[in-house]
Symmetry: C2
Subunit: 418 residues, 2 copies
């Protein structure tokens, strides 16, 4: 068992960077050390000696002794610049930046091939859950039907608080901000963008589908109001922000991010706080469920360490699903079973967007429509009626629940109505 010696150049020293520094010092079995840390802010007080730091990225990128670059900065554009330069200089790269990876997926794929350099990013997707590695290595030959999950820790924390402590969405968000779980401008998380970036990464490793952010509909939790909270509580449901991708009847793949009502028979019901949970459904293994912390310095650093460890064995993603060329395409031509809250005066016009309506409700100010609508019409509504509406997906696909379809191959039932 030969292990490469890894000389790491680290970009960024926020909480994950510092977590990584600590974790590395506690795992001496890994033959890896941080040679230099590049940071931006010259004035900031830092918990370790100043010799460790540089403010010039070339001190890492041009240093031939450094063979691994770990990129843990927030700014996706700066991150892309660093990662590109590192790959071009033949350095293996570990990154946790989902936005950067999702926005530049195809370029990063080509760069890896062109320069024969691995880029690993397990920490970018559900932090501590080894979902990319499992999709790459383990479901290689088990025909995948669907991947869905809670992939954003901040929003799950906010939604958990909203339900557990009967807070309004705004109050829960404020608490999350005070605890450092949500940014002062939290739109990337609460708008479902972060979840979408992760879904894009999952789509590539699960189904071999390359996407850009604009390809995928994301709808966050910002609009969640009292009416739908009350609706959920009365029915014993929780609301979770769920990213999902599934094969459609004509062997394409639908993918989107939407809040979803989940009942206590749905495995995601129990995934609370900053935990993430991912359910894969495959033809033969049936349902698999992975749960782990989706945020936090140590869980994220732990995923980074696993990637670093894998580099010491020359591991790289094979992108097997992309190579297999199954020709799966993204298909947004699906019908969804949703709850739509709206202003009273917009009730009539909104009904015209639905294919069928199961339930509707009105009071003096607002109302909701529950029924089947095409994803395209749903996008039109959210574009046109914006903050006057709130959309929650119903938890309608029963074949995802524990104990169903025992031993039966699951070719069927990824129905059009989701």
């Amino acid at each position: 068992m030969e292990r490469k010696n890894l000389n790491i150049g680290l970009f960024g020293f926020g909480c994950v960077g510092y977590g990584l520094y600590e974790v590395l010092h506690k795992t001496p079995s890994l033959n890896a050390q941080i040679s230099k840390i590049c940071v931006k802010n010259k004035g900031k007080q830092r918990p370790i000696s100043a010799d460790n730091f540089t403010f010039d990225k070339d001190d890492i990128l041009l240093n031939e002794d450094i063979n691994v670059v770990v990129e843990l900065i927030d700014d996706a554009d700066a991150a892309f610049e660093i990662v590109t330069a590192a790959i071009k200089s033949g350095k293996a790269v570990v990154s946790a930046n989902k936005k950067m990876i999702a926005e530049h997926f195809e370029e990063l794929l080509l760069l890896q091939q062109q320069y024969g350099v691995p880029l690993l990013y397990e920490a970018a997707c559900c932090a501590s859950i080894p979902i990319i590695r499992n999709l790459e290595e383990y479901y290689d030959n088990d025909l995948l039907e669907s991947v869905e999950g809670i992939v954003n820790g901040s929003t799950n924390y906010i939604l958990t608080k909203t339900f557990a402590e009967n807070l309004s969405y705004a109050n829960a968000l404020q608490q999350a901000q005070e605890k450092g779980y949500a940014e002062s401008n939290p739109i990337l998380d609460t708008g479902g963008f972060d979840a979408k970036y992760k879904l894009q990464i999952l789509l590539a490793h699960a189904f071999g589908i390359k996407t850009i952010p604009a390809d995928i509909f994301n709808y966050g939790i910002d609009n969640i109001g009292e009416l739908e909270l009350k609706y959920a509580k009365e029915k014993g449901l929780k609301i979770k922000l769920v990213a999902q991708a599934f094969k459609t009847a004509d062997n394409k793949v639908a993918a989107f991010v939407l809040p979803k009502f989940v009942s206590n028979t749905n495995k995601l019901y129990q995934v609370d706080d900053v935990f993430n949970g991912v359910i894969t459904k495959t033809c033969f293994a049936d349902t698999q469920f992975f749960v782990g912390k989706g945020a936090g310095a140590y869980p994220t650093a732990s995923a980074v360490i696993s990637d670093i460890s894998a580099l010491s064995y020359d591991y790289k993603y094979e992108y097997k699903k992309l190579q297999q060329q199954q020709g799966l395409e993204l298909d947004n031509n699906v019908l969804l079973n949703v709850f739509l809250r709206h202003k009273k005066e917009e009730a009539l016009v909104l009904t015209t967007y639905f294919d069928s309506i199961e339930e509707s409700y009105l009071n003096n100010e607002q109302g909701y429509i529950s029924g089947v609508i095409s994803l395209k019409n749903l996008q039109k509504i959210t574009n046109t009626y914006g903050a006057n509406t709130s959309v929650i997906l119903h938890d309608a696909v029963l074949n995802y629940e524990l104990g169903e379809n025992e031993n039966a191959p699951a070719f069927t039932n990824t129905a059009a109505v989701y």
Copy 2:
């Protein structure tokens, strides 16, 4: 991406063997085919053409075109003979036989090294859950604190029925037998032996500890009676058969199989029917939870296929934890918090075995003692008082629950009292 062509010789054509045959035919991307199937029973009607079969094991073992042996027979002794011969003739081996692997772990390890031949056995441990691969590949450098889980599908099915349908244990067992989930002689499952074999395999890949079956205490579900079922139901608990291993305060590892009361805040509470669930707790990634089907032809075949697929890339277990020589030893010198049901007249003598007693109860026939006892004394009781007693572990370790210890390294709190 070069893939080896795999020519498979299959031993056994029960439901998993036939499942594998079907699954292989539905995954043409895998360059693998079954050349010959060796079976025992000459008279049995089989669903595929007779040309596929042989009754002579040498038709596979001496066939130089066959480079992979897949062993899916019940008899552990015959399986060991086949696997040994296959390794010695340089054929890679995939096996699902936990008893064989647990009983001959060290010999099989040496054989793999001596002949440079991989032996993979993901299907032997929790069927569809990729737990061995994750322990091998992913938690390599994340200091592992504990592994615990429901690892036997048959007993979980029986216990689920017992609770969901208010059946007695005996009735639930009978139903499981009628459905084919339990053998006519179900003692390997219900006595906790199967769970122990799996725990032994987990111990090697999680902590680098080699064991023989006699090293580990296993206590099954055979003795579960009305009193403890009533106790559980009144308190909103379920009983699950749990295999667990955890680091003790003096950096050894305790491991045993015992039924356990689990509350609805324990992640294992939701793992019902033939599902298995494994919780790992690591220093940095914190809690991870894997759920999947632990029994059934397709889920098991799916794990076998993943191993076959891995062989096509020359994958082998590195046994990294064994190589790292952390020198972890098994330690059965632990205190447990248990519920012990007993005959009325044995109440007094049994109290003397306890370190401390929290609760005791007596009626005209029987009673229970709830308190702290050493594992050694517990073993004495089960040896001496056997079927007159029933033991259930209390669910006392709160730091395993979702949402606890957020972002904190989990060095602490694998307390002596479990």
